[in-house]
Every structure is written in C-alpha cells, then in structure tokens.
C-alpha cells in the first residue's frame, strides 16, 4: 500500500526523470515523426502516463526508456488516426515490435545513444532556426532542450506567462507551416546555423547574468541552464572551436558570479572584485574548454576571442597583474571580426588601462553619438571613470549622473550619484 508521502516522493522523482530525459525523448520522437510540436505533445502524454502509473507501480528500472516507449505507442495511435502520415506507420511499428520483444536489459537499445545524440543536435538547430524570431528561438530552446515549463521561462525573462505560451505555440506553428525539415543543416548554411545556436545560448546566459539581488531565483538559474546547454553542445559538436569558445567564455564568466555583486547588491566592476571568491573549478573548466578550441586550430572566432579575454582576467592574481596590452589586442581582433559599439567601449577601457586614459576617452568620444548605446549606462560610467582619472571632475560628475539616470539597478544608482557628488566636491 502506498502512502501520501510515497505518492509525493514518486511524483517528484518522476518530474526529476522528466527533467533529465525530456530533451532526448523529444529529440528521439522528432526523429521519428519529423514534427517537433507533435514530438513534444507525445512526450508530454508519456509524462502524464508516468505520473499516473509510477506512484502506484514504482519507477521502472530504466525510466527514460519507459517514457520513450510509451511515447512511441502514442505516436502510433496518433499516426493511425492520421492517414496522411500512414507511410511512417510501418517503420514505427517495426521498431516498436523489436523493442517490445527485447528483454528489459536490452531496452537500452531503444534509446540508441548515438542516434539520439544526432537527433538532439537537430533539435537544437531547429529550435534556433532562422525562420523564428530571436525571442521565439530562446523560448523554444528552453522549452524543448531545457525542459523548462512555460511558467519558469516567463519568470526567467520577467515576462507574462501567456506571452511565453503564445510565443512557443506560434514558433511551433511557424516551423510546421514553413515545413522546416528536422535534419542537419545543409553544409552551406551550417556555420550560420551553429552561430544561431551559440547566440541563443549566450543570450540565455546573459539574461541570467543580468539578474539582480532580489530577482526571482529563476533568473540566475538561466546562467546554469545556458552553461549546461553549452556543455551538452560541446559534446555533440566536439569539432567546432566556437562551441568550446562559448563554453569557455560562460565557464569563466560564471566563475565570477560569487563576486560580482556587493552585499548591498551593487554590481562590482571586475578589477574591484574579490578574486578569492572566484570559482576556481569553473575557471579551470573554462581554460580546458579554451584549450580544446585552440587545439582544433584555425583563426579564432568571436567566442574564442571573448573567452581569451575572460581568461586574461582570470589569470591575473590581482587586478594590477592584468595584462591589459593583451586584452586591448584581443578586443582589437574582436572588433575587426565582429564590430559592435559594446566591443569598442570595452576596447576603450582596455586601451585606457594599457596606454592612457586620454586614448581610452578618445575611443569613447566616437561612441557618444552611437544610437545603440544611447540607453547604455556603462558608456557614461566608463567615461566618468576616465574623466575622474584625468582630473576633469566637472565633466565626470555630469557623466556619473547620466549613468545613474540610465541604470535600472537602484543600489548602483545610489553609488553612481555618490560618486557624482564626490566629483562635485573636488571640481
């Protein structure tokens, strides 16, 4: 006889299995039915069945295989109802028969790992497909690959749940109506498609990284999820240096999470962070990933360059040990490869440290008219720092105030206004 506590425990265990297995199950099903939306529905049906049966019967020896088999049953029911897809019935039926005849120990074969790896990679590519908007790619990736619920995605992105739900439904509909095939991208498109996957993962990471003290815990959890997706991707595409570059970048950035906010919740600039709080395990993992990228050879891509910059910071025992010349050079290479005003602003900081505040300030002068940075509080705050170092307190005070008016972090605003007042006093 089962008690209520048993039921709750079984339910929680079932949900944990789902979290661990859902991406592979959806991927394997999508490989069979060639429709991501349908694959997800079938997988969800299997989860519902598990939630009904497992608390009573106990969790099966291989829960992943159980879910997959159950979902395959449902796929066949579905296909029987749908004459149009009749051709696939034979293929599915044969696989299922084999699986049913197999001894439980051989259920492993149902989840042919290598084949599912291929399908998992295809699932990543299709979730990040260019026919979808960036927002839709993010939501679909977290849903299909991360196994996150609509509610969790909404909380992570400070959005309303119905908005995210609609976005996911629409994304699946777009993939179906545009008849986007569930397959490896054609060779000519491959590098752009890889870049799209990397972009989505890094956007998720940055969304989590931007979380502030007091935010819903789901926001920082996005960092961990992006990191996990990156690590999975690195195993699926071991020959892509940029994938390892992104993993290295995220590992090293994540290593600073324990040090990046002051106890009051103010973001602490990198040079002022307590390096003793940096997570050495993640730094080492980041270096390993960067090394893998470099060993693959070829000219470094944008993620490898950004990871190399992060590695420069991680290598410095103290802020004063930072090799700013090297960082300025890497930013220059990055600006040549992937020019952007934010990269240019970071280069300005590095040049100011390596060379002189004047040279850094010159670079920022060319950015003040940049529309992309008009609401970006880092631009005036960098300029304010450089002006302070040059003793131009009057101008610095103005820039600190501008930065204060642009940040949405209240404790940071207070600090920026304090610094403005200090400049006023010295002007």
């Amino acid at each position: 006889m089962t008690t209520d506590t048993d039921t709750v425990a079984a339910r929680r265990a079932t949900e944990a299995v789902w979290r661990l297995e859902s991406a592979r199950i959806i991927a394997g099903l999508a490989g069979l039915v060639r429709d991501v939306g349908l694959a997800e529905e079938l997988a969800q049906d299997a989860l519902v069945a598990a939630l009904e049966q497992w608390p009573a019967d106990g969790i099966p020896a291989n829960p992943g295989a159980w879910l997959m088999l159950t979902a395959k049953h449902r796929a066949i029911d579905q296909i029987r109802r749908n004459e149009r897809l009749g051709g696939k019935l034979k293929l599915l039926g044969r696989e299922l028969e084999t699986a049913q005849q197999a001894a439980p120990a051989e259920f492993e074969a149902v989840l042919d790992n290598e084949k599912i790896d291929d399908d998992l990679l295809r699932l990543m590519f299709i979730a990040c497909h260019p026919v979808l908007s960036t927002e839709a790619r993010i939501a679909l990736t977290l849903r299909l690959l991360g196994g996150l619920t609509t509610e969790e995605i909404a909380r992570g992105f400070l959005a309303a749940e119905p908005t995210i739900a609609k976005r996911i439904v629409r994304a699946k509909r777009t993939l179906a109506s545009k008849q986007v095939p569930f397959e490896d991208p054609p060779p000519a498109e491959r590098s752009a498609r890889v870049a799209s996957v990397l972009e989505v993962i890094y956007l998720v990471f940055n969304e989590g990284y931007a979380a502030m003290a007091g935010d819903d815990w789901m926001r920082p959890a996005l960092c961990a999820e992006a990191l996990r997706l990156g690590r999975v991707l690195a195993e699926l595409m071991p020959a892509e240096p940029e994938v390892h570059g992104l993993v290295a970048l995220m590992e090293i950035q994540a290593s600073r999470i324990p040090a990046r906010l002051s106890p009051a919740g103010v973001p602490v600039p990198l040079p002022d962070q307590n390096r003793g709080r940096w997570d050495q395990l993640l730094i080492r993992r980041g270096f390993t990933a960067l090394l893998r990228a470099k060993q693959l050879g070829g000219p470094p891509g944008p993620h490898v360059l950004q990871a190399a910059i992060a590695a420069c910071h991680a290598q410095a025992q103290t802020a004063a040990d930072t090799n700013w010349e090297q960082i300025a050079m890497l930013y220059q290479a990055l600006a040549a490869l992937a020019p952007s005003p934010v990269v240019e602003l970071n280069r300005a900081v590095a040049v100011a440290m390596a060379d002189s505040p004047e040279r850094g300030l010159e670079i920022t002068d060319s950015l003040t008219a940049e529309p992309a940075l008009s609401g970006y509080h880092h631009l005036p705050s960098v300029r304010a720092d450089l002006l302070t170092r040059l003793g131009r307190y009057d101008e610095a005070a103005g820039e600190f105030r501008r930065a204060a008016s642009l940040t949405r972090n209240i404790p940071e605003r207070t600090v920026l206004l304090q610094r403005a007042a200090e400049c006023d006093a010295r002007a």
């Binding site: 265990a13 949900e15 944990a16 979290r19 661990l20 020896a61 920082p220 990191l227 690590r231 993992r285």
Partner: protein, 108 residues
C-alpha cells in the same frame, strides 16, 4: 545547484562489468553537462586540532565503511535530479553506502 555524491569504503572492489558500466555512467553525465569533477580518494591522514595541538594520523582506519573513497561533484537544477542520479548510480553498484549533500554557495 551543486551536490557532492560520495561513496564510502568497505564494499567489494568493482568487477570488470561494473567498471565498464561506471565508465559509461560517467560519460553519460559528462555528455549531459552534469558532471563537474570526479575522483577517488586514498586512505588519507586524519587531522585532530585541539588545544593548539595538531595531531596527524595516517590511515588506514578500521571502520572503512565510514571513510569516503570516491566522489562526484555534479551540477543539477533540483535536488530531485541529484537523488534520481544517485538512485541510478547505486542501482548499478548494488551494495554499499554513501551520501548526497548539497554544496552551499551563492548559487545554491
């Protein structure tokens, strides 16, 4: 969130089949982006600090069942995921003892 899964001594050493299964398990966890670090531990040196004196005692210790012989540091999204992975591990091992503890930290 991170969890440290530890295995205590006293069990029989893994046979070839278990050894291969464990290798697959470790690979699977790595591929899933879950495993951060893993390792075996020697019998160690016991440290007692008391009244300003530090006493070091080399192992082996009699109660090997109370001594950790290997560990895996994993990163998962919920405690239930850690428990599920522990279940899979111990199902494979069969007999033995160990612990699963959350590693506290700012991300915890």
């Amino acid at each position: 969130m991170r969890f440290l899964m530890t295995v205590n001594g006293g069990g029989s050493p893994p046979d070839e089949q278990l050894y291969a299964e464990m290798g697959r398990f470790v690979e699977e966890l790595t591929r899933a982006g879950v495993l951060l670090a893993t390792g075996g531990l020697d019998r160690g040196t016991h440290v007692v600090a008391s009244g300003g004196n530090i006493t070091l005692t080399d192992g082996p210790f009699t109660e090997s069942k109370e001594v950790i012989v290997s560990f895996a540091l994993i990163e998962v999204r919920t405690k239930d995921e850690a428990l599920e992975l522990a279940r899979r591990f111990w199902k494979m091992v069969g007999e033995g003892e160990g612990d699963i503890r959350q590693v506290s930290g700012p991300e915890g």
